[in-house]
Amino acid sequence: MGNFLGSMPGAVAQGLIWGIMAVGVYITFRILDIADLTVDGSVCTGAAVCAVLVINGVNVWVAMLAALAAGIVAGCVTWFFHVVLGIPAILAGILTQLMLWSANLKIMGGANVAVSARQFEGIVFTQMDVGGSLIWLAVTAAVIIGALYLFFGTEIGCAIRATGCNGVMSRAQGINTNVMKLLGLALSNGIVALAGAVLCQYQGFSDINMGKGAIVTGLASVIIGEAVVRKIGKNFALKLAGVFAGSVIYWIVYQTVVFLKLDTDLLKMLSALLVALFLGVPYLKKQLGMKSSRGGAANGK
């Protein structure tokens, strides 16, 4: 049992790192109402940029800013495909994701790059010092929650939220919805890449496969988080904190599965099923509800 409890700080750290990524997913999925698959690529892009810069002697914080910028560029590419070329959002994200696969290999010059905290000074997050990393991660999470809370309360933030909620209304209220989608996608992927940069430091390497299924993990965290904080309140900062909580819970479950020596190969299957279940239930409820109430009340065109 001691082994299990001993693994918990690590699980919480993983949860907080992937929580940063899940907040990026929250921005596109819940605020912009776009399922953006770019993230499967931009996690690794952030990690690759950060790792390569660090091993070339660049300051870790600067490397993380560069990773953020790389993610923003990835978001802009998806926006271009989706808004300028009119490609459906899902496909636009997949196209960028595929482009990033090549880009990430080129950035790293191979399938992976090691950035051990033993070799490179200044690495902030590392599993060799889980306690210290946890403190930094808590600070990072708090800063991200605070910054996004303030941002989505500004005029631009409100315009992004309105765009995701109702495009017709937004344009009728003079909002350039195309620009708001750009800001949302760029911000989201920037944050996701930042998560990748933190992750590569923590695990000591960047790897071409590290973003695989990130969208599903992120959605699972968002969904678990929503279930956790629903009863507590509706404050936006609380919802973001819930995303982190959801991610931490996800990784604690993961550790438990590992501890019980269950087959971790099945975890992605379970994650996907969980997401499908939680996304499907509201729809099914609506379908069943419609049958029981009078059907003709819908005010169509």
């Binding site: 309360g153 500004t154 909620c165 344009r171 009728a172 003079g174």
Partner: protein
């Protein structure tokens, strides 16, 4: 004395599915001039081009021909979000005019910033709330105490009234009402129409209101137009309009539109 011209539509053409077997000419050389302060009701059968006319003005898509001039400015090629600076719009679907996941006050704050550059300033300032509360209390729907409630929880009538407020907030040059009471029950529809009248009269707005209800079309506004096959076939105003009856209108329609009277009669009345 004539007021100044507020809207001038000249030769507006809009085709849907151009070049296919489903091609439909929705607007067929439409001309319309509105003067400042005109409150025009628009009637016509299904597919007459009423909503298409409003969309041509608001810029949902580019027209295939003709020009849209609003208060002396040619806005024909201006994108939708830029035209919105001058236009107030209320839609048939009560879901359409507001952001359901945002609070009442946030919706109002968005509307109060219509056409202004969006910055990193706060999306809503404390001082604004008193004004919003007063505006809402004038509606008489009890919304003034529910500023922080999500709009999605409001009834259709409440949402339409709120959308009207938002549309009128920045003194639009033109208010476009696209059957905004059609989805409401009769009692709520009457209430929303009453609010519509009040807002238009108090702020002396220029307005185009589409309606399926001929009685409403006669009872409201100072001018009535009837559309058919993408053009205006009847245009009455002033005293002549006040004296109109539904029977008169039906008679005029059958004369102007020829043989299709019986088909559209049910839709119009």
């Amino acid at each position: 004395m004539e007021n100044k011209v507020m809207l001038q539509l000249t030769g507006i053409v809009k085709k849907f599915n151009a070049g296919t077997v489903n091609e439909k000419v929705a607007l067929n050389g439409l001309d319309l001039t509105l003067h400042e302060g005109d409150f025009v009701t628009v009637i016509g059968g299904n597919g007459a081009g009423k909503s298409t006319m409003l969309n041509a003005i608001s810029g949902a898509w580019r027209v295939d021909g003709g020009t849209v001039v609003l208060d002396g400015q040619d806005i024909t090629s201006l994108p939708e979000y830029k035209r919105s600076i001058f236009l107030g719009r209320v839609f048939q679907d009560p879901m359409m005019g507001t952001a359901a996941d945002m609070q009442i006050e946030e919706n109002l704050a968005l509307a109060s910033r219509r056409g202004k550059r969006k910055t990193l300033a706060s999306g809503i300032r404390k001082a604004e709330r008193a004004g919003y509360r007063e505006m809402l209390s004038e509606l008489g729907l009890g919304l003034e105490d529910r500023l922080s409630v999500k709009v999605g929880t409001l009834s259709g009538g409440q949402r339409q009234a709120l959308t009207l407020l938002m549309a009128a907030m920045r003194e639009p040059k033109l208010l476009l009402l696209d059957e905004h009471t059609a989805a409401l029950d009769p009692k709520t529809a009457a209430k929303v129409l009453e609010i519509t009248d009040r807002i238009i009269n108090e702020r002396k707005l220029t307005a185009l209101m589409i309606t399926h209800n001929m009685k409403d079309a006669i009872a409201h506004g100072n001018r009535l137009i009837m559309m058919h096959e993408g053009r205006i076939i009847i245009d009455v105003c002033g005293e002549e309009k006040q004296k109109l009856t539904v029977e008169d209108l039906l008679g005029m329609f059958s004369k102007a539109a020829g043989g299709e009277f019986s088909n559209d009669r049910a839709i119009l009345s």
